[in-house]
Structure formats: structure tokens, C-alpha cells
């Protein structure tokens, strides 16, 4: 038996509480005494029939006002599955509760009224579900009895909704016509709507994917507490946010960036060799490294972005509106840091999805903002990782949780621009670097075909990745297979090839890469100089991979020299087309003297030195 968490959205007028009550009732999840209480409460409210909505409305004010105020959690099970329902209010003033209830849901059931068609609030619910990254949605078109169980109004709503849902990022949307009051298509298939071919709501819930949000790739382990029963044992307790970990595996500790290996893993049910996302574990490591609450264990080759300025959607949840430049406390995984909202790019009208400039955000309003933190956070985008991509803001005076944040990424010059427009083709303006950030570099390896550019770059990349430099390799041959497929080897086409490569490198840097290794023959000096002109002076590093034509011809890894010699490849550099050696390369690696490994080691050391020198 597995567990599905789902949330519900819709207002009392749509019959959401009734739908949940019906779901519980028809799955025999309401007990006799509970039902008796509901019958009695219905009677005392002067209602003719048993109001199943009363099953979920718990607080006195909710019963008095006949509305749902707060998130209520309900539990039921069928033979297949155990369910947790976060029943969230749909009124506009309670958006914050919907966000709360939906934050961990695998699926959302959006309830709407068939007689009223697609309303603003249904769009709002769908948008919020999309923003919160809920992977699956069921649109329950309720009160089908009031439209005569007819297919036409249902189809109209579904078509209209599908057009809207296209703008969203929810991957999996199902629709079901229901009548919650009577029980059509809730647990059993209704006989009143033979035109509907799908399963009832419960069937959709039982077959939806549980744990669809889990990121199984990127290992992230925020340390919750240090467990130290005595001098001989030091364990780090926490819940694996994503990915998997095994004993013996190399891990890196953030923020110290020190690496070590996993010695042991203990889960609630005992020692284990491996554990995956969601497990609460205690790990020990092989080295004596200082690790404390708020630190994170990751894999050296796959580290989150270290950012002191994040670009995020904020959902404001407090009566006191957002104050730009006020100090809040930010809670991200197990880290707590001081933070400030420095720039509110725009507010999103949740009804139209339009963006509009705003000076602040009030309760239940959503906007996109830059949040600057006193110490770096180790972030992933919320889309990829619900744990390392989310945070809340806490007001230090009232201690209230005032905002929920969904991270898009590190705040960059482009993403914080008021209009959110890309920076265009101007020379790359790197945003001011937080103190912890090292300089970035485009490392341009130029040289003849067969000189060893790609081999050296790959080896250097592996070394850099192991040190958590986010290193991208742009290889000339690979670009020519796709992006530059339309280009030949004329001087013009070569120039265009190099230009495109430089632009791609620029984008990688703009969006968070530390080092972009580019391996292009790039035979013409003026093309390489053009690339240099696109970057700030210290950012572009030209590396000449030197080898004479005889050596390259002897290596001929791709058989190209043989073809060129046979006349099959016109404009082949070094044979039928010139190669202009660099005059001011930052580093020259002669591969007739150095092995590829040795050249990579020299390049790696050179880059380390260059990059570290430039930090201060």
C-alpha cells in the first residue's frame, strides 16, 4: 500500500467540501458516530438532506459561516492506496491556505460548478497548482445533475479549460463529470452519463502516480542535526531531499566544499547500503570534517548553485504587506539566513496571468522578486527540486511566516531587469559577484584537427567538475552536428560557426556555469578576436593546443586527414586552408611533448591559479 497526497481547490459554491464528504462516505471512511454527528449538525442548521460538507468543516466559525477557512487534513484508504487530503479553501482571501495545502501534493483536484462554466477562480486554482509544481491535476466538473447530465456543457468547459491549461506547466490533466451531492462518478461509475468514457474520480486517484514530485537524480542532503552520543561516533541526521546516496560514495560538504566519503547510512529500520529521496537517515563520513545543521551534502560532480541573490516567485501570506529592503528571516532547507527583497520585478494577476509593475505585495498576491541573502544558499530551481527550490520568509518581529518562495534560479542581470527582457547582443555584462563567488571563464581551445583539443578539454572538465566548478564543454564537432548543421567550411561559415559557439558560451555563463570549455579549430585570428571582444577581459582565456601537422596527420583520430589527402575534404585546415596560430594565447600546450593527461593537468592547474587569483 502506497501513499498519495492530494489537495483540493474550489469554493463552497462549487461543492468541494461536499465532494470530499462524498468521497469519504462512499469509500466507507466515515464512521457511524461521525455520520450521526453530521446528520445532527445538518438538522440543526435547518437543512433538508444530510450535508456531507459538514464532515470537513471543523472550526466553529466555518460551521457558522458555512465556509472553509483553513486547510483541513483528511485521511482515507482503499484496498489499493492510503490517501492524505489537504482540503484547502478556494476563496480569493485564502489563497495562502491553498498554497500551504498544495505545497506537498502529488495531485490536485480542482472542483468547479458545471452550471457556471469556467470561472476566474478555477483559472486561479489551476495557475497556483502550476506555480506550486503539482504534477497532476483532475478537473472535477461538479453539479452535472443541474445541467441534465448532458455532454455538451461538459465538453465546452473541458475545451475551454484545456486551452487555458496549455499556458501552464502541469503535465497531466484529467477531467471528470461528477455530481458530488448524489455520488455520480465519485467512487462508482455513473450510469447517468454513458457518454463519459473515463473512470470515476476515485479511480483517477488510485491510478495517479504517487511520489511524482520526487527528484531521483540530484543528491541533496541538508543536515538537520549532528548526532554525537560520545567521542567515537559523529553522525549527521537529516532527510534526503533528492537523489540517492550509497556507502563508499564521494560527497562534498557545502559550504566548505570539502570532500569525503560516506562511511555508513542508518535509516529508521536499520543500517543500509543505500538510501533515496524522502528517507530520514543518519550518515557518517570517513573524514573528520566540520559539518553542522544547515550544511548540505551533495555529489562533487553535481552541486547546487551557490547564490546570495535568488530570482523567485513569492506568494505573500501576511496581512502586513511586503516591505522592499526590510530584513526578513529566510528558511531554506535547514538553513536560516537573513534576507531582503531588493527588487520586485512584477506582480502576477493570478486571474489573467498578466504581469504588472508593483511596489509591494499584499496578502495572497504573487510576484517575481529578487531576494538577497546574508549568506549564500545552495539552490536548485523549484521545477527541478521542491526542497532546495523552496523557502519561506519569516517576519523577525511578529515571527509570522509571511511568504512562500519558489526559486527560479540565481538572480542575474537579465532576470532582474524590470521587463525581464534578455540582455540582447551587447557585450556580456556579468552581474556583481557576491563575495563567495569565483570568477567565471570561457576557455577557448584552438588548434588543428587532431591536436588533442577535445581529449584535453574532457580530461580537464572531469577534474574541474570534481572540484564542483560547473564546467560545460562546447565541442566543435558536436555543434556542427546540430546547431551549426547548416554551415560549411568557407571563411564566412567558419566565422558564423565561431560566433554561434561564442553566443552559446555566453548564455551558459549568464545562466550559472563557472567555466565553459570551447574546443574549436577556429583557424582565423579575427574570429577568435571577435569572441574575445564579447567577454570582459579577464573572462576570456585563449589556449593554444599546439601540434605540428605531421603529428596530427599521424594521429588522425577521425580519419579526416586521410580523406583530405585523398581530396575528399576541400578547405581542410592545415592542408587546403590556413591555420593562423595565436599570437597572445594565455597558455600554449604542445601535445607533441605532453601527453593528453599531462596537458589536461597543466591546463587545470593554470585555470585554478587564474580563477583563484581573480577572486580577491
Amino acid at each position: 500500500m502506497d501513499l498519495l497526497r492530494f489537495s483540493t481547490a474550489g469554493s463552497v459554491d462549487d461543492g468541494k467540501s461536499t465532494l470530499i464528504g462524498r468521497l469519504l462516505h462512499d469509500t466507507a471512511s466515515i464512521c457511524v458516530d461521525q455520520y450521526a454527528a453530521v446528520v445532527q449538525a445538518s438538522r440543526s442548521l435547518g437543512e433538508d438532506e444530510v450535508n456531507l460538507a459538514l464532515v470537513t468543516d471543523g472550526l466553529r466559525a466555518e460551521r457558522e459561516q458555512k465556509i472553509t477557512i483553513d486547510v483541513a487534513h483528511r485521511y482515507f484508504r482503499t484496498a489499493r492506496r492510503r490517501f492524505i487530503i489537504a482540503d484547502t479553501p478556494g476563496h480569493v482571501q485564502y489563497t495562502r491556505n491553498m498554497v500551504t495545502g498544495a505545497s506537498t501534493a502529488d495531485l490536485i483536484v480542482v472542483v468547479m460548478d458545471a452550471t457556471r462554466g469556467l470561472l476566474t477562480q478555477t483559472r486561479r486554482h489551476a495557475f497556483l497548482a502550476s506555480l506550486l509544481g503539482i504534477p497532476q491535476m483532475v478537473l472535477a466538473v461538479n453539479k452535472m445533475d443541474l445541467v441534465g447530465y448532458a455532454q455538451e456543457p461538459y465538453d465546452r468547459i473541458v475545451t475551454e479549460f484545456a486551452a487555458f491549461a496549455n499556458k501552464l506547466t502541469i503535465r497531466n490533466v484529467s477531467c471528470v463529470p461528477v455530481c458530488a451531492r448524489i455520488g455520480d462518478n465519485i467512487v462508482e461509475r455513473s450510469t447517468r452519463m454513458p457518454w463519459y468514457q473515463g473512470g470515476p474520480l476515485l479511480h483517477l486517484l488510485e491510478t495517479a502516480s504517487a511520489g511524482a514530485r520526487a527528484n531521483t537524480i540530484d543528491f541533496r542532503f541538508p543536515v538537520q542535526m549532528v548526532i554525537r552520543p560520545g567521542a567515537s561516533f559523529r553522525g549527521y541526521a537529516g532527510t534526503i531531499a533528492s537523489g540517492t546516496v550509497s556507502t563508499g560514495e564521494e560527497v562534498m560538504v557545502l559550504p566548505s566544499r570539502l570532500t569525503t566519503r560516506i562511511k555508513s547510512i542508518a535509516a529508521a529500520d536499520g543500517a543500509t547500503d543505500a538510501a533515496a529521496a524522502g528517507r530520514a537517515v543518519v550518515v557518517t563520513i570517513t573524514d573528520e570534517i566540520d559539518v553542522s545543521r544547515g550544511d548540505m551534502l551533495v555529489r562533487p560532480g553535481n552541486i547546487p548553485d551557490a547564490a546570495s541573490a535568488v530570482d523567485a516567485y513569492l506568494c505573500w501570506m501576511d496581512a502586513e504587506p511586503l516591505a522592499v529592503d526590510k530584513t526578513y528571516l529566510l528558511a531554506h532547507t535547514t538553513r536560516r539566513v537573513q534576507a531582503m527583497v531588493t527588487n520586485l520585478a512584477y506582480q502576477i494577476d493570478v486571474d489573467t496571468l498578466h504581469r504588472r509593475p508593483a511596489a509591494t505585495l499584499g496578502m495572497n498576491e504573487i510576484g517575481r522578486a529578487t531576494v538577497v541573502t546574508a549568506a549564500p544558499l545552495f539552490i536548485d530551481s523549484y521545477r527541478l527540486n521542491g526542497t532546495t527550490g523552496s523557502f519561506v520568509l519569516v517576519d523577525p518581529q511578529s515571527n509570522a511566516t509571511v511568504a512562500a518562495g519558489m526559486i527560479r534560479g540565481r538572480a542575474s542581470a537579465a532576470s532582474t531587469a524590470a521587463a525581464g527582457e534578455p540582455a540582447g547582443n551587447a557585450p556580456l555584462a556579468l552581474e556583481p559577484q557576491p563575495a563567495d563567488r569565483r570568477r567565471r571563464a570561457v576557455v577557448w581551445l584552438t588548434g588543428l584537427s587532431g591536436s588533442g583539443k577535445t581529449t584535453i578539454a574532457r580530461l580537464a572538465q572531469a577534474r574541474l567538475l570534481a572540484e564542483t566548478e560547473r564546467t560545460v564543454l562546447l565541442d566543435g564537432d558536436e555543434l556542427r552536428q546540430g546547431l551549426c548543421r547548416d554551415l560549411g567550411f568557407s571563411a564566412e561559415d567558419r566565422a558564423e560557426n565561431v560566433r554561434r559557439a561564442a553566443e552559446v558560451a555566453r548564455l551558459f555563463l549568464l545562466h550559472g556555469a563557472d567555466i565553459v570549455l570551447c574546443t574549436f579549430i577556429s583557424p582565423y585570428r579575427r574570429d577568435r578576436d571577435y569572441v574575445r571582444s564579447l567577454f570582459p577581459p579577464e573572462t576570456f582565456i585563449e589556449v593554444f593546443i599546439k601540434a605540428d601537422i605531421a603529428t596530427c596527420r599521424a594521429r588522425d583520430p577521425k580519419g579526416l586527414y586521410a580523406r583530405a589527402d585523398a581530396g575528399g575534404l576541400p578547405q581542410f585546415t592545415g592542408i587546403s586552408d590556413p591555420y593562423e596560430e595565436p599570437t597572445h594565447a594565455a597558455l600554449t600546450l604542445d601535445t607533441t611533448l605532453l601527453s593528453a593527461e599531462a596537458a589536461a593537468a597543466v591546463l587545470h592547474d593554470f585555470l585554478r591559479q587564474q580563477l583563484s587569483r581573480r577572486v580577491r
Binding site: 500500500m1 502506497d2 501513499l3 466507507a28 464512521c31 457511524v32 458516530d33 461521525q34 454527528a37 470537513t56 468543516d57 471543523g58 472550526l59 466553529r60 466559525a61 460551521r63 477557512i69 483553513d70 486547510v71 483541513a72 487534513h73 483528511r74 485521511y75 492510503r82 495562502r96 491556505n97 498554497v99 500551504t100 505545497s103 506537498t104 538537520q224 548526532i227 554525537r228 552520543p229 561516533f233 553522525g235 541526521a237 532527510t239 542508518a266 535509516a267 529508521a268 529500520d269 536499520g270 524522502g278 528517507r279 530520514a280 543518519v282 545543521r293 528558511a331 531554506h332 535547514t334 526542497t387 523552496s390 523557502f391 519561506v392 519569516v394 523577525p396 515571527n399 511566516t401 512562500a404
Partner: protein, 338 residues
Amino acid sequence: MSKNGASGRERVNTVTDVHIVSREADASSVSGEECVNVADVLHTHLRVLEDEAIHIIREALAQFERAAILFSGGKDSVVLAWLARKAVSPAKLTVPLLHIDTGHNFPETLRFRDAFARELNVPLLVRLVQDTIDRGRAADETGVRATRNALQTVTLLDAIQELRLDAALGGARRDEEKARAKERIFSHRNAFGEWEPKQQRPELWGLYNGRKNAGEHFRVFPLSNWTELDVWQYVAREHIQLPELYFAHDREVFERDGMLLAVSDHVRLDTDERPVRRRVRFRTIGDATCTGALCSDAATTHQVVAEIAAARVTERGGRADDRRSETSMEDRKRQGYF
């Protein structure tokens, strides 16, 4: 098959104590053993709930300086203490168990409470409602239906103040009652110990906000998302010992308001109430004055699991304290009840 089951149990039980013998040791049925093993494989939801609870407990222990576990000897608080010990393992659990003793408890519960604390090797703090009454801070209800249920709140809040607790971990579950269904996992209490349902902080993802001012405290509910059946399935999986009141036994009971109450020194029988001997067990073990028994032959954990899976009455249906009004739990919680 049975050999595997036995070694599995041994492994789990070594952590506690050999004196605490699982209920299953008495059960002769082999099918019960097999049932455990199959259930362990199929019940991934228990693993999810267990991991979530441990995450919450660790978060509480990391965020608060002076926490205590509210412990009644009932199954939920036993499971909570069990999970708390796992959360800090292999370190020792140093967080004390705090029992608010109404003086109306079943003697079996108190005996179990003391044995459990001793075997877990954790400090047990007991605060008595009688002391609160003697100090004039509360007065007993009068009449035949008098209970000390509401009075516990005063003793509890006094204890929190006296011990300068900043967090009290409780075994309350959201499925128990409709006001609890709306309560946060980290639930703030103001300086008067009151719960303010309309001021609750949004609680998102696994992020729990335990910030507070001096004099305020938090109640933390790691079992929020568990149901009664989950608790019992977990008790079965982990071979956790519980007070014998939870299992079928013969007892003098009498009927009142459709409930079977135990005959004890703490209840006065009305003139028309006649004691009878029945085979019963208790689903909850609160005060003898307000906890109803049910007729049952479920004598082992697995028989209880089966009985609860088929039950059509809620757990608290047998609690007179919840029957007083539609919103009696909400009202008590607002004032600082568990």
C-alpha cells in the same frame, strides 16, 4: 519463514529490553507471523509516515532548547517516544517524558508508564492534577459525570511554565477530531498557552517555523498525518509493547450514554447503573471516568489491527469528553489542551 520473522523481531527488540515482550510472543498462530512479513513489504505508507515523523522530531529537537514529550502511556505517545528514540539513535534520548496525571488513570496505565520510561532509560516527569487542585488553581467538576479532563490543561500549562519548556511534543493525530484536522504540525501557543486557530502560520513543504517570543511555546505533532490504523500497523511492525488495557480482557463494566465504562474508584454509579462482567478492550486509554471500552476478543496486536480495519465507529466515539458539544475539542484546544 517463521525463523526470519523471529530474527527480525529480535533485532528490533534488542534496542528496548528483553522484559518488554511483544504481544505476538503469546500468539501461537503462525499465520500471524507471516502476516507481519507480508505487511512489511506492502506497507510503504508506514515507511513514509515514519520518515516524516522522524524529520519533524529532529526539526523540533534542533529548533527548540527545552522540549518534552507529552506521555500518557497511550499508544500514540508510546509510538511518539519510540520514534523520538529512533530520531536521535545511536545517541540516547534525553528529552524527558512528561505525564499529566489526573489521578483518574487506570492502574495498568501507570504501571506501564513507569516500566516504559525505565526501559527506554529516559527521564519521566509526572505532574498531578491533584496538586493543581490542592493549590486552589482548579476545582473538580461535581456530579455523577464529573471528569478531570478539562483540569489537565491547567496542570499542563503550569508544568510547561515550571519546566520552562519551549516545545511539548504530542502524539495527537489529525484524524482524531475535526479541530485537530486543522492544526499545524508546529503549533504555536501564545504566552497564555492558547491556540489561536485563525492566526495559524502557513506551513509549507518540510519547513517548520518555530520562532517565538519569550514565554510562548510550541506544541509539535509528529504523528499528525497518521491514522489509528497506521499506529496499530506500526505497533505490529515494530513489535512495540502497549498497556494490556488495549487488548481483550475480562472486566467489570457498566453502561452509560451508550458507552461501556469501567467500574473503578473514580466513577460513581447512578442508581440505575448495574455493573456487568464483559470481555472488553479499550481503543483509547484516557481517564477511567470518560474512556469507554468496547466488547472485543482482539487479544493480540494483529487481531486489533484486523478489528480496527473493520471498525465503523471512530476511536474517540468512546470518549465522553468529546461528546459534550460539536466544538468541545476546539474549545479545549483554544485554552491550551493537548
